[in-house]
Symmetry: C2
DNA sequence: CGCATACTTAACCAATCGGTTAATTGCGAA
DNA sequence: TTCGCAATTAACCGATTGGTTAAGTATGCG
């Protein structure tokens, strides 16, 4: 069974914040702001092998932070705005200014 | 040896986002916006015992999200703004997408 | 002092995490 | 069809997480 597309917002916040709680994944997400790119390219700056990056990518994917497509042999990742927006909204509504 | 007060900003982001990645802890932090309160009061809405809440509190404490003081037998928790600000800043500078 | 209140600490446990190596799949080129 | 590149999956491992129960500690009150 694949993961559901519908996530309760609490579950999605769990997954989004968990995805952000690792420096490798934050670097990957920051890189993806510049535009979609392949797993090998995402792996290049990091001192770990492809399977490790592949596993890392599954974390933000489960929260909807990224989506993946296919381009020949490559599986480019694309950043999606909605989960980030949700995280920002939670932080915004929970901060006394 | 106690935890260091000085955290590398990357480490602090790790700890802050990890603290936010759990619904019990988010509820606790949201409650603390209304003002400082005790462990027992924080535990009351949750279906788990005091040691569990005590452990939960150690997570945002390690990131600096909360600080704890003493008032007779109680150990009230206080929300601190700086780590939240850092998290918002990371999200802000990584969203223009 | 003796006792209650408010936690915290210790020990334990199953599940998840973050990495590894080795094998496998998907795709395009020759 | 065979080859090679890109990426995933499987199996494994030690460390961490999130909960439990039971015992220990700090503080205030009569």
């Amino acid at each position: 069974m694949r993961d559901s597309v519908l996530l309760l917002s609490s579950d999605q916040l769990n997954l989004t914040f968990a995805a952000l709680a690792d420096p490798t994944r934050r670097a990957i997400l920051a890189r993806l702001i510049a535009g979609h790119t392949t797993v090998t390219a995402l792996a290049e700056p990091h001192d770990m092998n492809l399977p490790a990056i592949s596993k890392h990518l599954r974390v933000p994917e489960r929260s909807g932070l990224i989506e993946r497509s296919r381009d020949a042999q490559s599986r480019p990742s694309h950043l999606k705005a909605e989960p980030l927006k949700q995280a920002v909204d939670w932080l915004g509504s929970n901060r006394r200014h």
